[in-house]
Symmetry: C2
């Protein structure tokens, strides 16, 4: 049996997950895969820190060189996260011909070309199943199961924290701030939740997924990003009445050479497969010209689910030794002529206003929509007894910029007290 | 660029799907994968038959030997279906060292050991992604993404025809026979629908999935099978009231060395991810000790989705040339000591009776349940005005054999007019 010695960079949540899985299922993996995977060194900041697990202290090091320069270590698994020093360590490992398995979406989304080029030049593998959607094997499915497809649409719930918050808001009718505070107490949200709440995390992951799906590098600055902090219980309530659930969706579409990529709160019909993805679960809905609609659903985070992806990558890397696959993009660091990033995309819109309850308001608003080529699909007007009433529209498909202009004009109407929210709708 | 010449066995639905995909996406595949996949020969019954596609007649043959003995053909893709002559042809191809890609669940479920042994002995590959759930890459996910897991539960909607019928019955309130007749007219169900309706098709597929998931050959005779022809609109209506959707589920569970495998109509809670799998869509819900809950959803049949899986397998086979992976089971043709097939499994039950509306009936039935260690979770009793009333129970978890005995006793009660149905419940 082959013994493979690996080094871990980081020993937080994911690192301990990998350790536990190899402890628990190592013998089964050895039997089935013919591989004895042995953790030799673990890079940590503090080698004296008390750990919940009983691990030989000699395995810990605080020097990356102890791992990089160890010729016995052939695979390095990185879960430090963030850009630096993760990027530096990954490059160092690749330069030594060591294969790298990473859970780090940010470093991949920002420095993919550099990392992949270094891997290629040194005959090392670069594996990143754990970087998107934790335990869901979406990377392998894109790379190794959808080769016969032109993928033309990706819609993903790829941030667990925001899906948890939106699910709770929707099911318990409580405010965003309230649920976020609870989630932070329970450890479901970070003390600084910006990366999740404002969609950065989903943007990194979408950059990776869309790049793989469309075989073209979709850089971060090509992705529109909007978080969920503006979503209110009222939006959710009226959305439900109209048959919608709200999700933070990461969306990428390709039509010919036109590509659009965006992360924003989105209403989807309640019978859409993504609508029933609750709590912190993740799901990726893909459309390909051969496969049709495909959805992958599961745990997007957590020590064991993410560890599952890491260990799977380590096993794949061992079997692929000497012939690692590299990703082929139609474009490199720059957009090629073949790819055109679209920003004036089309969606339906949910528009929620507070207006004065006067005759003619609806007609004025309808007039503005018409002027900007936005046509209405449905209207809800609630309660005629009060001075101020909610007025909700759902439009047919309209251009992003047309809607922006229409909303600016609507804001100027005397009888429009407030444009409460504008939420895009996908089907 | 490498050119790979392949032979197709069969040119029905799936065969033409493969042809279309290679026509349409061949150049992209060549660019990305470095493979020029060329169909050289197609085995058909009638080489003179008129075909919808414009294909060089010289490609067709009605002799398997033209393909088996062609040294240029390195991969044979089989979609004849059924046991013979598919088995014979696959074996012949493997014996010549040709890799086989098959969509044939029946031949695999029945002759897996023989096929795999022959492949191994001749250094040929055996790939079967398309054999279960069409375009959904469940085989590769089991084999190459869940290696770090002990899979302990599989629940699948893996027959599109029955899911289509149950969805229509549920949404339109029409009878089984009615919808089946329509489905046959529309080509969604076979003229002889037995294999779908009575669960044989799902049983073949479950045998494959459970074998891969548990790393133990689960033979067809170890699988309990029950079809959907006994499900009525009333069952569905009362189920809905209780918060359930009905699905033909293929279920396999493993606890220690105990394995249960069964195909039967099943009630699942409406908020279960499988409950929203509508129409002819398929989905496989898996629980693993590391990954947690994972679900794959998509098109389980059709020329292009199944073709997507076939072409993906062909590409994988090319990349794996010289080191195809073979499946390792804890047992071979026979059950080993490590594996114990359980038939007296535990589920909750939905029991629908028609009883005489008399005092004491409920008490008598409750008494019988109690005697057989079945405890009730909920009861619905409808309408007190008529002589005969429906009486519906949902039980807590109970043993299969205990329920069988209880039902036999209940049938003997004077005031029980009919045991309308007994449907298992999973959560």
């Amino acid at each position: 049996m082959e013994t493979v010695k690996i080094g871990l960079l980081g020993f937080g949540n994911v690192g301990t997950g990998v350790y536990k899985i190899l402890q628990e299922n190592g013998p089964e993996i050895a039997h089935r895969e013919g591989l004895n995977i042995e953790i030799k060194k673990i890079l940590v900041r503090d080698i004296h820190k008390r750990r919940s697990m009983d691990i030989d202290k000699a395995m810990f090091t605080n020097s990356i060189d102890d791992i990089i320069n160890d010729p016995e270590i052939s695979i390095v698994a990185e879960f430090i996260g963030g850009t630096e020093p993760a990027r530096e360590y990954i490059l160092k490992a690749l330069e030594k011909g060591k294969t790298v398995v990473t859970a780090n979406k940010e470093v991949l989304a920002k420095h993919w070309s550099e990392l992949e080029k270094t891997a290629r030049e040194n005959g090392a593998g670069l594996y990143y199943e754990a970087s998107v959607a934790g335990g869901i094997p979406v990377i392998k499915v894109f790379r190794e199961s959808l080769q016969a497809n032109r993928v033309y649409e990706i819609m993903g719930i790829i941030n667990g924290t925001t899906n948890y918050i939106l699910t709770k808001m929707s099911e318990e009718g409580r405010d965003f701030a309230d649920i976020l505070a609870d989630a932070q107490k329970l450890g479901y949200a970070e003390p600084d939740p910006t990366s999740d709440i404002e969609g950065y995390d989903a943007m990194y992951k979408l950059s990776i997924l869309a790049s793989l799906g469309f075989h073209a590098r979709i850089h971060l600055d090509s992705i529109y990003r909007e978080g969920i902090s503006g979503i209110t219980v009222d939006d959710i309530k009226y959305g439900k009445e109209l048959g919608f659930a709200v999700k933070l969706l990461a969306i990428a579409k390709k039509q010919g050479t036109n590509i659009e990529a965006r992360v924003h709160p989105t209403f989807i019909p309640l019978d859409h497969p993504l609508a029933s993805v609750r709590d912190s679960f993740n799901a990726i809905f893909v459309k390909g010209d051969s496969v049709g609609n495909l959805m992958l659903y599961g745990r997007g985070a957590g020590d064991l689910p993410t560890g599952s992806a890491i260990v799977s990558d380590i096993i794949s890397a061992c079997h692929q030794k000497g012939r690692h696959a590299y990703t082929t993009f139609y474009n490199g660091d720059k957009l090629s002529e073949e790819i055109n990033i679209v920003t004036d995309w089309e969606t339906e819109f949910f528009v929620r206003l507070t207006v004065r309850d006067k005759p003619g308001v609806l007609a004025k608003i309808a007039g503005i929509f018409g002027k900007h080529d936005v046509s209405m699909a449905s209207v809800i007007q609630k309660g005629h007894s009060r001075e101020e009433v909610p007025l909700i529209f759902v439009t047919h498909r309209a251009k992003e910029l047309s809607m922006e202009k229409a909303i600016n004009d609507i804001k100027c109407l005397d009888d429009v007290i407030k444009v409460e929210n504008v939420i895009r709708v996908e089907r």
